[in-house]
Structures are given as C-alpha cells and as structure tokens.
C-alpha cells in the first residue's frame, strides 16, 4: 500500500471517529431517557393505582357514613332505612332479619352496617313483616373492627331466589 492510500484511509477514519464523537452524547441521552421513562413510568402507574383504589373505597365509606349519620338522625323503621339506602346506593338493597330484628345493608364485601330495631310490625292485610323502633346501628366495618371476607363469588349462588 503506498502512502497515498494510507493517507486516504486515515482521513476517512478521522471523519468516522469525529462523527462517532458527535453521536456519543446522543446515545447516552437515549439510554438515560429510556431508563428514566421506564422507571418513573412504573412508579407513576403503581402509585396512581393505589391512589385511585383508595379514593374509590373511601368514596364508598363516605356514602355509607353519610347514610348512617342520616339514619341516626331520623330513621325509625326498616322502610326508612330502605329509603336512605336507595338514596345513597341506588343499586343495592338491604335485607331484614325478622327473627333477629335487624336489617343488614352491605354495599360491598368489606363494608356493611347492621341496624337493630325494637319490634316487628305485621301488616294485617298483606301479612308483610317490617321492623320499627330503630335502636342502634353497628358500624364495625366502618371503624375497621372486622375481618374482610375472602373475595368469594357470592353472586353466582343467588340465582335460586330469582323466580
């Protein structure tokens, strides 16, 4: 190889290395950006989920507390409770236990209230039994004094009662 060729090859190398030098920073920026985007993205997703889920659950407790506070200020019968339940949770209904003189309202698996009444009223015409004389409302779940039942798919078992 003569000196002319060597000089040309070296000149090309100079240009190539100079180009690499300019691209070097770009590569680091790209790598750093990727790492930053991935890490902060995971952090954003994880934290946002926690915030969202807690907000949603707190929203449910808000309605249940509001219902309970309304009830202790004026509700007397199981029908009064049913009206309040419909006001705050239109999609959920409570159920009376005539034998125990209680009404249970359970908008979610974790949160429920149990209202205790004094007596059972019987409608003479329809023989329909209701509860009256509201005594107390058990807010254990709202205070956290309960154990959250395992998430069972209870809804499926309720088909029998539909007819």
């Amino acid at each position: 190889m003569n000196i002319k060729n060597i000089a040309i090859v070296l000149s090309v190398l100079v240009v190539a290395i100079a180009a690499m030098l300019f691209m070097q920073k770009g590569n680091y920026v790209t790598q750093a950006t990727e790492h930053y985007t991935k890490t902060t993205g995971n952090s954003f997703k994880g934290s946002s989920k926690i915030i969202e889920y807690v907000n949603s659950t707190a929203g449910t407790t808000k309605l249940l507390w509001a219902l309970t506070c309304d009830a202790v200020q004026g509700a007397k019968t199981s029908q009064d409770m049913a009206k309040l339940e419909g006001k705050y949770f239109p999609a959920t209904k409570g159920s009376n236990s005539i034998s125990q003189k209680t009404r249970r309202f359970e908008p979610t698996a974790a949160y429920s209230i149990v209202t205790t009444f004094d007596k059972v009223d019987v409608d003479k015409k329809t023989d329909l039994k209701t509860l009256s004389g509201l005594k107390s409302i058990d807010v254990s779940t709202l205070l956290g004094n309960a154990v959250i039942a395992a998430a069972a798919e209870e809804e499926e078992g309720e088909d029998e009662g539909e007819e």
């Binding site: 000196i3 290395i17 690499m20 030098l21 790492h35 952090s43 915030i51 907000n55 507390w65």
Partner: protein
C-alpha cells in the same frame, strides 16, 4: 499531490485519530457519569413526589376516618362541649384504632399490608386533628383541604356541619401527575 504531501496528511490524520480517540474516551466516562447521576436524581425526585402523595393520602384518610368517627359520636352521644372534647381526645389518642380503621380501608381497596406498612413507616399517621379551639368554635381536619367546624355556646353544641365530609372529593385532592420529560444537560 506528491508523496511528501500525502505523508504529511497521513501523519496529521494519525495524530488527529489519537486525539479524537482520547477525547472520545474522556467524554465517554463523563457522559456515563453525568447520565447516571442525572437519571438517579430525576428518578429519585419523581419517586419522592409519588411517595409523598401516597403518604399525604394516608394521613388524609386517617383524618377522614377520625372525622367521621367524631361526627358519628356527636350525633349519637351527649351534645355537649365536654363530650365533644373527650371524643376528640379519645379518637386522636387511640392510634391503634386509627391504624386499624385505615388499614381496613386500604385492605378493602386491595392494597397489600406490606405496601400499607411501607407508607405508614415513611410518613406515619396524621399529626393533627383538632386544628382550632377558640371561643367555642372548634375546627377539625377531615383530610387534605377538608375542615369541619363545630360551634358551642355555654357548653352545648349549637351547630355541626359535616357537609364538607359528604362532599369531599378524593379524586380531586389526590391525583399524581405523570413524570416530566427527562432532561440531560
């Protein structure tokens, strides 16, 4: 061009190549260090922000739970200033009950106990509950940007308004912003 000029060009090129390679190696180390430091700093800042929001929410939910407990107590027990003060004290001081109520809510929301403990260890429960107690007017915190006012006259409860709690908009109060673009100087 004659051979002599090509020779000079080749020598200059060789020198330039050596210089450029040295510059490249030096810059490589610098860029690497800078990029790592910059990523660490910006990721750290964002994680601090996200954790801060989780801790703020935890504290607020603690105040929120205490506030509902207090409202319920004022509706179901004697409506006197003494009973109110006792209820505030009892609720605020019972940290086990506060944690239990909070943890129950987080568990109901599907947040694992380990995550709950992490948030609690870093931020802890709310520091304040009773915010103001002047001339029969008492204010309690019911979360971030949420305050309840109870007014007493001659030791009797005159007015209690818990509308702020009923209207409390958590989605507005707790919202984490998406991370900003990465900056590299």
């Amino acid at each position: 061009m004659d051979n002599k000029k090509f020779k000079i060009l080749a020598i200059v090129d060789a020198v330039l190549i050596v210089v450029l390679i040295v510059v490249m190696m030096v810059l490589k180390g610098n860029y690497n260090d800078q990029a790592q430091a910059s990523v660490k700093e910006q990721v750290g800042a964002y994680q601090e922000k996200a954790n801060g929001m989780l801790q703020e929410q935890w504290k607020s939910m603690d105040q929120y739970g205490m506030a509902w407990k207090l409202v319920y107590a004022t509706l179901t027990t004697a409506k006197t200033e003494a009973a109110f003060d006792a209820a505030v004290k009892a609720i605020e001081e019972d940290k086990d009950a506060r944690f239990k109520q909070l943890s129950y809510m987080y568990t109901a929301a599907g947040i694992p106990p380990k995550v709950q403990n992490d948030i609690n260890e870093k931020g802890g429960l709310a520091d304040k509950f009773l915010l103001k107690n002047e001339g029969g007017v008492k204010e309690v915190a019911c979360g971030k940007n949420c305050t309840l006012t109870f007014t007493f006259a001659k030791g009797k409860l005159q007015a209690s308004d818990y509308k702020a709690l009923v209207e409390y908009n958590m989605d507005e109060a707790f919202k984490l912003e998406a991370p900003a673009e990465f900056h590299f100087e």
